[in-house]
């Protein structure tokens, strides 16, 4: 006991502890209830398994030689292994660009050979700017361009979802660029679709202004998105920025994926997006793959990031 009004006697301490305990207990109960409601809401839409499950891998930069990752082929192999051990067979795997570092025939051959190890019915790709350094993507298209249109863009339908793969790495000045032909393709491609068709868009460079000063944006993306605004669910997945980032804009959600090669700085952190060399043992925490699930009736896709560690 004490006479100092600023100190606490035992009874007060017990009382405050009880209030604190009640606050923690109620918060835990509230969290449980919210989780349960969220789980029930999700379960009510689920019939068996998700309608569509796929994996995203990006920016493998096969052929990169540098301190940031002296063995990009090894980390890409780990990424493939991680996808092959998801516990289910993904409906497809998408590589969102920069498959190679310098777009040489040997690098294209190596990455293609490595991706034959993916246990999935389909492997899709879009080119990064590193895949078209000296020939506007000709070598890329000779290896990965079968069945594509224009400069390598395409679309397909799977499990009731319409998927569009775009090429915004050719005709680069500073920002990504789609061009009139591709914008025309998008307009015609979605014209016959109903508004409730879920749309997934793949591109290498973000279709949102993540950091234009570093070229992390696409100059004519607004025109492309204008054709997609009427759809209730549009999900845009990209690579290029070597880090997880997301942004929502009405019914359109953008998700940047990480890399399997080397990290880049956060937007504006330094003068330019140069490869970051992490302390020993930390690299594989920054590298990873992404699982994506679509549950029929949901407006948003479920994403799960997995580090290579």
């Amino acid at each position: 006991m004490t006479d100092d009004p600023h100190t606490m006697n035992r009874r007060q301490l017990i009382r405050h502890s009880a209030w604190f305990g009640a606050a923690v207990g109620l918060a835990v109960v509230g969290g449980e209830v919210i989780s349960h409601v969220a789980g029930t809401a999700q379960a009510s839409h689920v019939q068996g398994r998700p309608a569509l499950r796929f994996a995203q891998v990006s920016d493998s930069h096969i052929g990169f030689l540098g301190k940031a990752n002296p063995n990009v082929a090894g980390s890409f192999s780990q990424a493939i292994e991680r996808i092959n051990n998801l516990g289910y067979t993904p409906d497809f795997v998408i590589h969102t660009g920069d498959l190679t570092h310098l777009a040489t025939p040997e690098q294209f051959d190596q990455v293609k050979q490595m991706m034959t190890g993916l246990r999935t019915p389909h492997v899709f790709t879009v080119p990064g700017e590193h895949d078209s350094v000296d020939d506007a993507g000709q070598k890329y298209r000779s290896v990965f361009g079968a069945g594509t249109r224009g400069d390598g863009w395409y679309s397909f339908d799977i499990a009731g979802v319409h998927v569009i793969a775009l090429v915004n790495t050719l005709n680069l000045k500073k920002l990504g660029h789609l061009g009139a032909d591709q914008l025309d393709f998008i307009a015609k491609d979605v014209a016959a679709l109903t508004n409730d068709t879920p749309i997934i868009v793949f591109s290498h460079i973000p279709l949102f202004a993540m950091y234009p000063d570093w070229g992390w944006a696409t100059d004519d993306a607004a025109q492309a998105l204008s054709h997609l605004r009427r759809f209730s669910s549009v999900t845009c997945l990209n690579g290029h920025v070597h880090q997880v980032f997301s942004k929502t804009d009405g019914n359109v959600t953008f998700y940047s994926g990480t890399t399997t090669a080397y990290p880049l700085p956060h937007p504006g952190d330094g003068p330019a997006p140069k490869p970051v060399t992490l302390p020993a043992g930390q690299l594989h925490d920054a590298l990873g793959i992404r699982e994506v699930s679509y549950i029929r009736g949901h407006d948003t896709l479920a994403l799960k990031e997995q580090a290579l560690q």
Binding site: R15, H16, W19, A22, A23, V24, G25, L26, A27, V28, V29, G30, G31, V33, I34, S35, V37, A38, A41, Q243, V244, F245, S246, K247, T248, D249, G250, S256, P267, H298, D299, T300, L301, A302, L303, E305
Partner: protein
């Protein structure tokens, strides 16, 4: 007066909590870090609201102000430099963003009123 302020803080906390819980249930649960943060914000808001209403000690109101202020800072970061790799535009998602911000501003405002009242009471004592 004091009861009215406590009641007001409890109501605004609940409104902010409902908005966050709704967004968590309707999609935000899938956003890394942000999803769990929304659930935490909602569950702590509900807990504090109930205990403040039941006449809990003053530090519960401080906790409410910190929670509301933190949510406002997180909102500002998500509209500017991003928060845990997440960013949103303007008042999207509408109307939940605007409802939460107004509720949190009122929570902080009521806490300030409560603080001033308490200091005044101490000065007069």
């Amino acid at each position: 007066m004091n009861y009215l302020i406590r009641f007001g803080i409890a109501v605004t906390l609940t409104i902010s909590g409902i908005s966050h819980a709704y967004l968590y249930i309707h999609g935000y649960q899938h956003i890394p870090t942000i999803g769990p943060a929304f659930m935490l914000q909602a569950s702590v808001s509900f807990a504090l609201a109930l205990l403040i209403l039941l006449g809990g000690p003053a530090w519960l109101q401080w906790a409410a102000a910190v929670l509301a202020g933190g949510a406002l800072i997180a909102f500002a970061l998500s509209r500017t430099v991003g928060l845990f790799g997440f960013s949103e535009l303007g008042w999207e998602p509408s109307p939940h963003a605007a409802i939460s911000v107004v509720a949190e501003l009122v929570t902080v405002g009521l806490w300030v009123v409560c603080l001033v009242e308490r200091r005044r009471a101490v000065a007069h004592a």
